[in-house]
Amino acid sequence: MAKRPIPTEFIIDRDENKCISCQACVRMCSNEVHSYDPETNEVLSDSLKCIGCHFCESICPTHAITIKRSQSEFKMNANWSAGVITNIVKQAETGGVLLTGMGSDKKYPIYWDHILLNASQVTNPSIDPLREPMELRTYIGQKPDRIQLKSNKQGKLSLESRLSPQLQLEVPILFSAMSYGSISFNASKSIANAAVQLGTYCNTGEGGLHKDFYQYGSNTIVQIASGRFGVNREYLEAGAAIEIKIGQGAKPGIGGHLPGEKVTAEIGRTRMIPSGTDALSPAPHHDIYSIEDLKQLIFALKESIRYKKPVGVKIAAVHNVAAIASGIVKAGADFISIDGLRGGTGAAPTVIRDNVGIPIELAIASVDQHLRVEGIRNQVSLIAAGGIRCSSDVIKAIALGADAVYIATSALVAMGCNLCQRCFTGKCNWGIATQNPYLTKRLNPEIGQRRLVNLINAWSMEIKEMLGGMGINAIESLRGNREHLRGIALSDTDLKILGIKAVGEM
């Protein structure tokens, strides 16, 4: 029998002693895993349909449900692992490209976990952030080569050099690009409100700016991607900054595809396309085939907003990222966002997500170093993205040379996401990656906002503690300060690229 079912990934363990047949799980599962049998007054579960999002487990009032990994094991084979076999079965069945969501789950080295931070002992004092001022504020934008001051007759000093437009961040963490369309209205609203409350920025992705979100414009970075969805004069003027998206960490080199079923009337209006039609973003920008072309677009955009706001470029971390970044600086970008291998997505071919790009740790270190060598580091701000999981990742990214970081997966997790990687199905039970009105209601934007604010506040406190420990009282003093990092269990080449010493090295 060549035709065989795709093996069960999860087992739904229902404790019959606890199950009260209230059917909350039946009502809530968008994958129709659970069903009620009125004859026996029993709730039944079909594990085969379960995608492991844990919503039923969370909603069950008696905690009767536990989602477990399936016990069905393939014969141990390091080469032909269960995942590899399952993928072959799926493709033999469908003949299609395998799709997935979120960032890569492959076991590539996570360099954050191989970098250790420093702390002050005896020779320099550490700082207690609860008692002494500590600054996390930072600015994104081009910095001048030198500051020139002039004094008037009274001897009062004032600034003579002209400063480029800057984004002021109260915390060095921004919410990364997630379009309205890939995520729900309520999810976008939670993020936008949190950005306003935290004094940071969110990013529209390439989904345009919904008319209800214009009010958050001063805390929004508006993105221009290859599909140019939702781009018009008001859109450009509404944002605090403009970001040209060239690439994305989860799928470098390929475009995007929002299936027509997800393009509701509201999304169609926001993206300026007919509702129900596929929103296809081409792989390249068809007007950018070189750095010179990019320069034209950057300056066309700068002209359009009369040089009042920073214009940046987002690229995926790929092999020659440092040289590419250098070109982007010379093209006049005010900031560069670099999205690493583990960056998330709403939908990407699995093979691309898992095999294309390089980790953000090495990319950011290499770009920072390269720009310093070229003497142009001050002309641009760097935003690191793709796999920032906790406050220590943030602080390590900054010490490796980033000005700030973008987070998205962590933000989604704060709003309920369990990384089931099925964003592309549009059936997100948590009401995040869906446009089904029955499901989107499940994310109360007030709760979403509160949880995002809590997360960033908690991270900020931890960052302050770590900074204080190092004897530093401002996040900007840590940028590119690699003396505060040491690598553990890394090769000489890794250490060289990261620009850090090994543990124990003086």
């Binding site: 009502r27 909603i59 029955y438 209601k441 499940r442």
Partner: protein, 135 residues
């Protein structure tokens, strides 16, 4: 969001044991939920007594079973006095009172969970869709 956990916790709160598993597995008859989730398409709405300022059920009650609690201002039903004439159900503009036909016929309605500080439906709503406030 239509999970109906408010109904489930309401039933538990008004049971003898106040234990969710015991209520569902051992108690018969189970109490009626005093909150009911109305559904149409993707719209769900949890409906319970609004504890009106000018409550028509108070005026229409023939036995004086329906009364207003002096302390909390909640409209409550004294089930000992209630004779099950259903006049309150007839006049309730929200349809928030239901008939409890198990045993003695009485009107069953939200009592704001009596001694609880916050009603259980509010406390257990996973999406904070039910809000407890005075207007």
């Amino acid at each position: 969001m239509g999970c109906r956990l408010c109904e489930i916790h309401c039933i538990t709160q008004h049971s003898k044991t106040k234990n969710i598993i015991k209520t569902y597995k051992g108690e018969y008859p189970k109490p009626l939920p005093r909150i009911n989730v109305e559904e149409k398409g993707y719209v769900n709405f949890a409906l319970q007594c609004r504890h009106c300022e000018d409550a028509p059920c108070l005026e229409t009650c023939i036995t004086g079973a329906m009364y207003r609690d002096d302390k909390t201002g909640a409209v409550l039903c004294n089930e000992n006095k209630c004779v099950g004439c259903w006049m309150c159900i007839m006049v309730c503009p929200f349809g928030a009172i239901s008939r409890n036909m198990e045993g003695k016929k009485v009107a069953s309605k939200c009592d704001l969970c009596g001694e609880e500080e916050i009603p259980v439906c509010v406390k257990h709503c996973p999406n904070e869709a039910i809000v407890f406030k005075e207007e």
